[in-house]
């Protein structure tokens, strides 16, 4: 009889102790979770522009950590949250580096491309006035160059619109397409291809 009673008391004490330990983790778990959420909120603005998948993954991990917290699994939250904070900080740094790289690319493109296109436009305009095209150039070649100039202009307009809209990734991508086309058109026109357009 006494043995049963002591066993019962031991079981009650053990479960109370476990509950007390778990409850003790709640505060630190909540703090860690808030820290992770803040770090993710700080990072996601820029990070989502350049690393969309990684940002979504981080947000999903935060949702999972919150669910663990709501279930009372504070130990798991204490284990997961610091890693989330650390990943968010790494993502923020990577996004800042990517933005700097794209800004540099865009500055070069937006400074150089208008001059390249002006040279192409000038040559197409002059050749369009020519009664006879130079050796090795057919009317078809000139027509291709003229069409290419139209494409470049469209691509560049889209690139500048993307830049004005704050989408540097898209701006640089579209500007690079315009750059490739410009190199093709310069070759068609037998004009030198500037170093920035090669490779």
């Amino acid at each position: 009889m006494h043995r049963h009673f002591y066993n019962f008391i031991s079981a009650v004490l053990a479960s109370t102790l476990l509950a007390a330990c778990g409850a003790g983790d709640k505060g630190p778990a909540e703090t860690a979770l808030k820290g992770a959420e803040e770090a993710i909120n700080v990072a996601k603005g820029e990070a989502s522009k350049y690393f969309a998948d990684e940002t979504k993954s981080l947000e999903s991990a935060l949702v999972a950590a919150k669910e663990k917290f709501n279930r009372g699994d504070y130990k798991a939250v204490l284990s997961d949250a610091p890693a989330l904070t650390s990943k968010a900080q790494e993502l923020a740094s990577a996004a800042a580096a990517k933005k700097a790289e794209l800004t540099k690319s865009w500055d070069g493109l937006s400074s150089g491309m208008p001059r390249v296109v002006e040279a192409i436009k000038s040559r197409v305009d002059i050749l369009s006035q020519s009664k006879k095209l130079p050796a090795g150039m057919s009317a078809d070649t000139l027509a291709q160059a003229r069409a290419g100039l139209g494409e470049i202009t469209q691509q560049w307009t889209a690139a500048t619109d993307a830049s004005k809209g704050g989408n540097l990734m898209d701006a640089v991508s579209k500007a690079n397409s315009a750059k490739v086309k410009a190199a093709e058109v310069l070759t068609l026109l037998k004009m030198p291809v500037p170093e920035a357009l090669r490779g």
């Binding site: 400074s111 150089g112 002006e118 040279a119 002059i126 020519s130 130079p134 004009m191 291809v193 920035a196």
Partner: protein, 81 residues
């Protein structure tokens, strides 16, 4: 000027230009022609445009070094627009 930048997709921002390893402008798409003995602007226009009658285009593009379209000198470097 700033108004032009908003509407002109080819407006150039004030940024440092990319240089080649030799210090040249990596974006320079200008075509140059060095005058050889016996050449005239007419002949040069024929070479690049197929039509000698378009020589005034070259003359106008090089007004900083040419005063008379009938007078060009061997070794002069002309920009071909």
């Amino acid at each position: 000027m700033s108004g032009k930048k908003d509407t002109d997709p080819w407006a150039m921002p004030e940024t440092e230009e990319k240089k080649t390893e030799g210090g040249g402008d990596a974006w320079d798409a200008a075509q140059w022609h060095e005058v050889k003995k016996g050449e005239t602007l007419w002949k040069i226009a024929e070479q690049y445009y197929g039509d000698g009658a378009l020589y005034p285009k070259i003359f106008e593009a090089n007004r900083d070094i040419l005063k008379d379209p009938d007078r060009i000198n061997v070794g002069q470097k002309l920009r071909i627009p």
